[in-house]
Symmetry: C2
Subunit: 247 residues, 2 copies
Amino acid sequence: MKQEDTELMMPESVDDFGLSDTSDKETSGRASMTSRAYARLRADIIAGVLIPGQKLKIEELRQLYDVGTSPIREALSLLTSDHFVERIDQRGFRVATVSAKEFDELLKTRCWLEERALRESIAHGNASWEEQVVLAAYRLSRVPRSAADDHFVANAEWEVRHKHFHVTLISACDSTMLMKFCDQLYDQNIRYRQLSGIQAYPTRDVTAEHGAICDAVLARDADLAAQLLVSHYVNTGDFLKDQLDAY
Amino acid sequence: MKQEDTELMMPESVDDFGLSDTSDKETSGRASMTSRAYARLRADIIAGVLIPGQKLKIEELRQLYDVGTSPIREALSLLTSDHFVERIDQRGFRVATVSAKEFDELLKTRCWLEERALRESIAHGNASWEEQVVLAAYRLSRVPRSAADDHFVANAEWEVRHKHFHVTLISACDSTMLMKFCDQLYDQNIRYRQLSGIQAYPTRDVTAEHGAICDAVLARDADLAAQLLVSHYVNTGDFLKDQLDAY
DNA sequence: ACGCTTAAAAAAATCGATATTATTCCCAAC
DNA sequence: GTTGGGAATAATATCGATTTTTTTAAGCGT
């Protein structure tokens, strides 16, 4: 469980969904202006507060987040590399656009990368990794997917644990780079999930799917685990795709 | 041959090795300060002028490249996401460190991603893609690997065409994201190649390897093509690894 | 009314200065 | 001789103002 990411990250807003890994890092109230701007912008983009394609005017953001131009500009530069923001020649920044085509690519690419990462993890993971997987799966199962019983309301704690489960699955793949790519794609996917504005539970039993993946992993059945993981993503993807006509 | 990358890039220095894609973009002398700083810093890091781990003092860079602090800072932020620069808490920036372990991971990850991308390209590429591959292979073969006959001197034109060949191979994979990841890893790899300071030709016939890959691709033999491509990378990797003790 | 040129407004990019934070170095105390 | 405190120094992070560039609007002639 090493923490090699020195990048700036400091969760602040509630909609953050554990995307900025708050794990074992100094979570003191003190944070650089750049980090704060970065975290808030990112959260607002993922949450859909900032609409895809929307112009991001420096002066507006400056006043909104109450910081100078430099931190805003730096945060936007960082978000550009995360593909949450697009920089236009000499015309400033805007929220990254979304499209059904891009979502397809995203889903596909995630499957390719996560499958590879999972297979490597299964091949190389040790006992400690197994335990971490079990623990992450258990913790995820202990929390309801929705914050309300009758209709769907995103449960922040479930989001955090869900991400942690998926990160743990591939954490033994022995490639920091691959893990970072998967992380990036995961976050992109969450954005699409938010934007699709799902209101209803999916009908399938997501918890059972997680359990099945966990079992296959513990049995070191790479083919089965990979197949289950990919279906898990594709199913969720198809579910979202239906609600993604707006873009 | 679409150009979807709106990111800032503007080749300036000679050591650039075609890493910033100058393809069909406005290559006028006019470029933003940020782009210039970005391109030059990047080139200097890849070329090894800026040593791994070296502190990057804003004031120094400001004077060296003759721009204000903001563009420098923004360029460094961008390079941070490219993993060419590391940002340390509140202590500024430094050139990303290198290590044998990281190189191993890099090589491994490249193989995984490029194999997937190549297989997808072979599965989905059309006639136009085939023609582009042939053309890229031919152009690469028309230029010597070394600028000098007796000892090895990097040939900028070969570098450009080599990259273009590899980009073309996977250009039909239908995933912009995957292509970007591969691009990133390619550039990281070039940095390692530069740092290793190779002086001699590799004994194997690199041109022949490219030809073989091209043939397998045209025959739509995915297994063979993938195997050849991976060997190509692993061979080059092993060759470099031997000379990488310094770090 | 339409297109072209030009002026005014808005916004982005950049700069230089200030405030903040880390580092260094010296000196005293143990 | 080492350790700890605390200036002095150096470097970063941030801000507000200035310079360019782009966008909008207006004017003019056809």
